[in-house]
Amino acid sequence: MISDITIGQYYKAESFIHKLDARAKIILTVLFIALIFLCKNFISLALTLVMVILSVLLSSVPVKMYIKSLKPIIPIVLFTAVLNMFYTGGENVVFSFKGITLTSEGIFTAIFLAARIVLLIIASSILTYTTVPTMLTDAIEKLLSPLKLFKVPVQSWAMMMTLALRFIPTLIEEIEKITNAQKSRGADFESGRLLQRIKAVIPIIIPLFVSSFRRASDLAYAMSCRCYTGADTRTRMKQMKMRIRDFVCIIIFITSIAGVILLNNLFGAVI
């Protein structure tokens, strides 16, 4: 089902991570990504893994949800990992058969590649599961606000992003409705050649566009009726506030990055 897509799906809970400031969470996610890509040996990877597991546990989001977000990419991860395993050159041949050689460098590359992608997905899922989409765009707006000095309309962008996120579920629902209606008139989306299949989506796309434009203009009217004249003059009902715990988390992460770099140097890099 199309509605199984979990982009930006918020999971309601009252965890420590849910309560962190959205800006802090974005910064933490960036630091997390840095952490994941800096690991160069198994000990630093283990440290990162511990950080990820701790964050997942602290998020109060069921592990099942993370598995759900990982599922679609597992085939891609396996495929690229296997390819890398065989195509990475190196001296330490572990295994050789009929021209196919497997080196320890290849195996390590594959493991690190797979681990990095998986951890990356988990880290970004923590952010989206624990943060309401609108808070996320607000936070991005705040973080990018220095760009206003260069006349970048950050607030308008943030508004557009908020609206886009808001309408994703509506659009999905709409697509389902229209698809059902056209199926009831015998539309066939499952068989035929490529060209036929592309043609088959026209009866969905056109009504979708028509209703999106209608919705956009309704929304524009509704916004002007509430005196929206552009984003720059808006204030917020919920003020964002960085607290001590936000800073503590950021410090912990920066320390971990330092730790990973140290471990990389102490024990040598394997990739």
Partner: protein, 288 residues
Amino acid sequence: MSNFVLETINLSHIYSKGTTSQVDAIRDICLKIEKGELVGVIGHTGSGKSTLIQHFNGLLKGTSGTVLLDGSDIWADKSKLRNVRFRVGICFQYPEYQLFEETVYKDVAFGPKNMKLSDSEVDLRVREAISFVGLDESYLEKSPFDLSGGEKRRVAIAGVMAMKPDVLILDEPCAGLDPKGRETVLNLIKDYRETTESTVIIVSHSMEDISKLATKVLVMNNSRLAYYGTVDEVFSHAEELKEMGLNIPQITGLFLRLKEKGFDVRTDIYTLEKAKDEILKLLKGGCL
């Protein structure tokens, strides 16, 4: 061959099964719909009406239970499912939002074309359908997007009628129309049924409309089938219907109030004629 065109046996449907947002939309529905009936489906919002009808043409598959069309399971052969959709035509709520072609003609022809009918047959059906919905042939070359709301609605209904389904299902066909538009739509549905002698199922909020049109009434309440029977039978449960939050016809409401006040009247009355008779009877009885 059985007399029942549609049957459901212990049909249940659960949305998003196994997640926190699981919804039991319909539970254990057993019903048999005879050929040629005009069934009115009523029930409060969220009672599972739309979910139920989507099982009739295989858009949804029951979590458990079966749906029989003319005695055979519609899911028995998946490749025949499209045929089922030609035989059971559903017109959804706000069907005007599914119009997509450049002209009314092409849009109405979409269904018949999918049925792989010959061009002349398609042409015939389009013209027939457009006259069923009370529009003249000058509409055929117009763009559906230039029509008024009520006209769009009628074109969309014609799009389903053009397939000449054995069972025509309409989900809230009058939603969002003005009183005149409502009447037009209800009348054309009535005419269509009389002309084609097909089975028609109408989902509606309005008891008033249903009581005027339907031969059978199906009442949904909290995902379950509450009543299924003739209009008289169902309206004899007027008090229970009221408890379910359904707005019973005004006339029935009046008699219910009379009964509350201690008059000995029937409460399954919904037409002006019967109301007159009952009141006359009451007057003759000397209660007043």
